[in-house]
Symmetry: C2
Subunit: 327 residues, 2 copies
Amino acid sequence: MAWYVAGVDLGGTKILTVLANEAGDILAEVEVATEPEQGYGAVLDRITETVLRACGQAGVRVGQVAAVGAGAPGPLDPATGVIHQAPNLGWREAPFRDNLAERLGRPVFLENDANLGALGEYTFGAGRGCNEMVFVTVSTGIGGGLILRGEIYGGAGGGAGEIGHIKVVPDGPRCGCGDRGCLEAVASGTAIARRARELIAGGAGAGIAARIGGEAEKVTAATVSAAAGAGDPEARAILDEAARYLGLGLATVLNLLNPELLVLGGGVMRSGRQFWEPMESSLREHSLESAYRRVSLVPAALGGRMGAMGAVALALRGIGAAIPGVE
Amino acid sequence: MAWYVAGVDLGGTKILTVLANEAGDILAEVEVATEPEQGYGAVLDRITETVLRACGQAGVRVGQVAAVGAGAPGPLDPATGVIHQAPNLGWREAPFRDNLAERLGRPVFLENDANLGALGEYTFGAGRGCNEMVFVTVSTGIGGGLILRGEIYGGAGGGAGEIGHIKVVPDGPRCGCGDRGCLEAVASGTAIARRARELIAGGAGAGIAARIGGEAEKVTAATVSAAAGAGDPEARAILDEAARYLGLGLATVLNLLNPELLVLGGGVMRSGRQFWEPMESSLREHSLESAYRRVSLVPAALGGRMGAMGAVALALRGIGAAIPGVE
């Protein structure tokens, strides 16, 4: 009998669920809004609904789903299936895995979303065949996941890979974690937008301000990226600085972990050469030569499906299936 | 028939070789000067001599030595046994493992010395039973080794664990690696001595200068540590600053790797509470709470035998022996 797996990517704003066959080919895909304000039970119901709808689309019975992989934000414990804290969802100590397994009547495996991004790229995307891989996503925040010896590396508490909280500037800008000078505080989309707002507030940054009708609070990293793409020197300088900090932080990663591959995803990484070039130049400048020589940098390949595909890979691994594309 | 292993710790100034039984108990120990200026072949001869002498001391025939583990400085490849570069020894691309195996007629396993320090502490010292362990040694330089899932983690090229080259101060003091602002450049014994020399050169630091007859070039980290221990406020401030930078760099390690244990060795770590307290306070301040909560900090337990004991563990693992003390 044919069997399938489902991959669920649970985010603060949307839930993306895919149904895949045992080779990891996507057969159906369902996206709904998370609406966390309706409460924990309602979100579990909506996830359940996405799995049922995906099965319906593909003409598959839920009983044929061998396992469900799920990615969720925030510190969580894959071993117990408990989400310790998910600020975007308003949850604390939620026994998410078991609650979802109960509703679906299928085994569920849980991982944090950044680790699943790494596993997705490793299994189906830009990281195929590279057993020592670091995945970094630069968007509103900066997250990451480590694939070491071909497995997600979570460390002692499942929390390894917090690349956004590498310290790069002592006493630097305040970070969401409460500390100062983290990579996320100087190189994320949020940091880029903040720099542009500061510029505009100081009466400069006309080339950026023009794109958002002068309303500084509307500026995003995409605004800065677009202005830089059109040649605006102030926007370029902001991107350049963020990219150089990213290269500096990633040099620490290279020196510590000596990986074979850096897979870079997230909206900010799509700013093109104006971002990649200073990042690479800074990475080369600050890495030990032996570490730099050994690594390749590639853009993430799975885009918005990364987390859901990672969840598919997690489900396949969870039930001990041979992983497609991995020798 | 009883069998044994030898562990060789090759440094720029001395060679320490121990002979151990299959349980890792030391039966004999021989130390000689390295004298690298006599050339590669002469150093290999001296290492061979230490193994023979250790066997002689213990009344063991060389034929009973099942394997030899060896630790050497510098970038090297454990898989090929080639030392790529050992500046202290003046070697480049030396096929050290095979050359030593030929001379001894025994199988040799090679690892870099910082990784062997980690493996030694993990197998026989402060890290026993902790599968996710980071070893850091703070002396003239800052080195480190990673034990992840109970194995040395070398990354793609064998070079992982370069904790001394975590970047902590953008455009900070020049480091031996050629870059600026590395942890080694602000928190090593060399950095502590440099700060004291700068102070004395500027006409201050009388409490430190008094200990070395005013000859600033004679100041070492030990001088600063002794002055601080005697209550000198300038010496205390130097140690405090170095310790805080160490805590900052180690926070990056905690956030990236979420280890169970940090094992801290090397001469500078023996400066006592005046160094440990600001280091721990800075580590707590800059680590993610979930990572800090999960880790314990302990001093290294094997002292100067760390590398040789790591080499013993490497030899035991190399021949597939059960590792004592590890379930």
